[in-house]
């Protein structure tokens, strides 16, 4: 073999190729978590089909002591457990990389490559010798390859063993069986293979107090902490687990200790129209309510969004974005619902959007969304995506300030009504565009009003008078302006050197963007970055653009949707905003972003202040 084998410690990408439904997921996760237990950050990602059993699925583990959590691209080692995809899996390995496979059945040399290291373990034969039961043979085969990898990558066996003990605490039989399988794989590799190979994991201290969880679970937890009591929903990938998480955390935290009864209500609706209808009905009636959905659900909910906007009803919508249009790529990631959410519905509507970057923000922004929805009396969209929603990821530990109280917004009370305070449901009393509202049942004779999607005067009386309509639309515009300073502020990251070039990005692009910034800087290209976290855009966003000669807008959609919002809302010269678009359904990578930006800068001959630019390899 002419190509030297890749030699990397704590910095490589390992990919598992499995068959969906074979029980590989928990074994693969065990592998990833064992590395984290060794203090080395990993970024695992599931690449899965719209299928329950039989189709190919991949699990990619990026090991990065430097802490880069975005997808990297490439593959240093393939654990090829799926005969269906063998050829393309072998082809996907980087030159000098490694192939791990089940060597029970001999394969002809043509099935391998000259420029990679091949590592075979007769997993099927070993399992058949050890277990009688077919299901056990399958499940423990997965644990066995994890054991072999531990030996090959020079990992700590004890870290994985302890994870098994923690996972199955109290179930001694399961612990024993799993540890046994792990050891069989480990010992076989130690005895028969050249351990360690060029890829190794060495104990470090780079994880800190971070936790590992998926964004959808975090959204569900955020809804519990945010005070949601009503969820109306309809199953749709990749959002379903938001409600599953909400349901399980509610059972844990919201079961009345005295009588076992629920301090929450979750209703699986007949469709997305009904789920958002329930949310709006509950919000109108003073409960914090939300739904979780994805692009097709957003399309179905459009009419209701217009009603909620115009009737001014709080609602929280968690949209876990996926490839669209239509059913699109239901199991692949995209950021392609910005426009359909920002301007959702007929007529003149604008909606508040929040962009979490990871599971931590899925938690914190979902919780905050309920305060914003009640403060602003309007639907608030949390725009997550499949990449952060469905993949486990390292993120800052969740935190909560116990002195924080829910902001219920401008609610007129019984006492105020009784004292004769003037109540105009759609009256702007203090210039922020937000009127007072009453909850049904507040007062026997005062404060009741008739909610409608048609025009009314400031006192909620039906009106088709043009000036009443205009008053109301202008007030809604003021309210939207008020929202600018209430949504989470953007996060600015200045380059190491002064520069005229900026990059705007949002959501799940963040880890890849951070790494891209470092790649560019290493090549002498310095860019300031601004991570937008909310819509409407605050003045800081417009200022960032105004102060720079060129601003790249990095997005995971085809039509540059955030850029469109910036041009439209900020009246920005479109030429100033350069598109960097990634939309093939895979998560965006640092290599992609850095390559695009470097290419564009060299084409445009825009030279950032600092060193002369060089092209970054892409």
């Amino acid at each position: 073999m002419n190509t030297p084998a890749i030699q990397h410690c704590n910095d490589f990408v390992l990919k598992f190729a499995n068959v969906n439904g074979s029980g590989s997921a928990s074994a693969n996760e065990l592998f990833a978590r064992a590395i984290i237990r060794m203090g080395v950050p990993v970024a695992p990602r599931n690449i899965f089909p719209s299928n329950i059993q039989g189709l190919p699925t991949w699990y990619e583990v990026r090991v990065s002591e430097a802490g880069w959590l975005g997808a990297r691209g490439g593959c240093d080692m393939m654990v090829a457990m799926n005969p269906q995809t063998w050829d393309r899996d072998v082809a996907a390995i980087d030159r000098g990389g490694y192939l791990f496979y089940d060597s029970t059945k001999p394969l002809p040399p043509s099935k391998f490559r000259e420029d990679i290291t091949v590592l075979g373990v007769p997993l099927t034969a070993m399992c058949n010798a050890e277990y009688d039961d077919a299901r056990q043979r399958q499940l423990f085969k997965n644990i066995m390859y994890v054991g072999a990898l531990i030996a090959l990558l020079d990992m700590e066996f004890a870290a994985a063993e302890q994870l098994i003990v923690d996972r199955y605490r109290g179930k001694d039989q399961l612990i024993k069986a799993n540890v046994n399988a792990l050891r069989l794989g480990y010992e076989y590799a130690k005895k028969n293979l050249p351990c360690p190979i060029g890829l190794t994991v060495k104990r470090a201290d780079a994880v800190g107090d971070r936790i590992m969880i998926d964004g959808n679970s975090a959204c569900g937890l955020g809804a519990v902490f945010g005070g949601a009591t009503v969820a109306g929903w309809y199953p749709i990938t990749p959002s379903t687990s938001v409600i599953e998480s909400f349901s399980s955390y509610c059972r844990k935290f919201r079961t009345d200790p005295d009588n076992g009864r629920a301090r929450y209500a979750i209703v699986q609706a007949e469709d997305e129209l009904a789920s958002i209808g329930m949310v709006i009905g509950a919000g109108w009636n003073g409960a914090r309510a939300f739904t979780a959905t994805s692009g097709p659900g957003i399309s179905l909910m459009q009419e209701f969004f217009g009603l909620a906007y115009f009737a001014e009803i709080p609602a929280v919508i968690v949209d876990v974005q996926r490839g669209s249009p239509s059913t699109g790529m239901p199991t692949r990631t995209q950021q392609s619902d910005l426009l359909s959410c920002a301007y959702a519905s007929h007529g003149d509507t604008r909606h508040v959007l929040l962009f979490p970057q990871d599971a931590y923000e899925c938690f914190s922004l979902t919780a905050q969304a309920f305060d914003l929805a009640e403060r602003l009396q309007t639907p608030v969209f949390v725009l997550s995506d499949l990449d952060i929603g469905m993949n486990d990821q390292l993120c800052a530990p969740f935190d909560w300030d116990d002195s924080r109280r829910y902001d219920r917004g401008k609610l007129m009370t019984y006492e105020e009504l009784e004292a004769g305070k003037d109540f105009g449901r759609y009256l702007d009393v203090d210039g922020d565009g937000i009127p007072y509202r009453t909850i049904p049942g507040t007062h026997p004779t005062r404060g009741a009003y008739f909610t409608r999607g048609t025009t009314r005067n400031p006192y909620a009386k039906y009106s088709e008078v043009g000036s009443d309509y205009v008053y109301n639309m202008e007030r809604l515009r003021r309210k939207f302006n008020t929202a600018k300073d209430l949504v989470p502020a953007p996060i600015l990251k200045k380059a190491a050197q002064p520069t005229h070039v900026g990059v705007i990005h949002y959501g799940s692009t963040a880890p890849a963007m951070a790494e891209a910034g470092a790649l560019l800087a290493a090549d002498g290209i310095h860019v300031d970055t601004l991570r937008v976290r909310g819509f409407p855009f605050s003045d800081e966003v417009m200022q960032f653009i105004a102060e720079r000669d060129a601003v790249f807008v990095v997005e995971q959609n085809e039509s540059a949707q955030l850029r469109t919002l910036l041009v439209n809302e900020g009246e920005i010269d479109p030429k100033k905003l350069v598109r960097v678009l990634h939309y093939d359904g895979s998560p965006i990578t640092a290599r992609f972003i850095a390559g695009k930006i470097a290419d564009a800068l060299s084409d445009r001959k825009v030279s950032p202040i600092g060193q002369p630019q060089r092209k970054v390899a892409s």
């Binding site: 969880i213 009636n285 003073g286 409960a287 935190d399």
Partner: protein, 351 residues
Amino acid sequence: MTYLAKPKLLAADAPRNALGYTRRDYEGAISTLCAGCGHDSISASIVQACFDLDIEPHKVAKLSGIGCSSKTPDYFLGNSHGFNSVHGRMPSVLTGAALANRNLLYLGVSGDGDSASIGIGQFAHAMRRGVNMTYIVENNGVYGLTKGQFSATADKGTKSKKGVINSDSPIDLAMLALQLGATYVARSFSGDKEQLVPLIKGALRHGGPAFIDVISPCVTFNNHAGSTKSYDYVREHNAAVNRLDVILPKAQIEASYPPGSLRRVVQHDGSILHLRKVGVDYDPSDRIGAMNHLQERQALGEIVTGLLYVDSSGQDMHTHLNTVEKPLNQLGDAYLCPGSKALEALNAMLR
């Protein structure tokens, strides 16, 4: 003119109910529907029923979809919160409202287009779910606001004002409600307040999904010869199975009926339904019998009215969800937020 407030003048001797309210306190704005519209009679019946039952107006939430019928909640219960929502989607909005606060009375008002055409799905699922509500369909067989198109409850062979014959089969919402799990199902006629008011009262006191299909002729677009939803047609073909009196727990039972002609049903809240048999031998606790009777009479061209079915067990969506007694919209931060300690424990499990 788009909004007409009602004059507040009141006769000094206007009768008051146990709460001290007059009927006027249960009224709303002046109706903008056509003169003689059946829907206005239904609004008046709702006012009467709420007055009679001493219901606090602010403890009622009235919700509707879109259409002539859905405009009516503005014309009654002016001291109740109302919600004129989206066409065909009132059931989901009402469901959400009911989830938020189980202690209010929910009155859903809809039409045949709103419930049987665009909203058939939501109608069906709200019944299935057992939402505690009184759901009234003001059924005239046509779209009024868009000028006379057939709705899905129009009978096959019926003739439109423009002379078009309807070739599609009708949807019988009462029949569907029976099939889908409503526990109080009635049919009535807007021209028969004597029958309708007690049916609404029984529904308001029911404690589960209550549905009333009220045939309500459209005087402008569906009151001609050849229509099966005209005043004349419904009067001629009305086949009442019973007459209802609703008696509150505290009230003295004064009426006396010949033995064997009266059926007594106690609802879960203690209210008593007295059903006087009319003509036929009919058992309102027999769901399958009710469906058979409806089908048989429909084949003969009759419109069966009265309380068709009642199951007074008092189960509803909140029973199924096992929610706490206190309304969810009244639970404070301390009941909802697990706090930082719980979060720290969770963080530890995620490392």
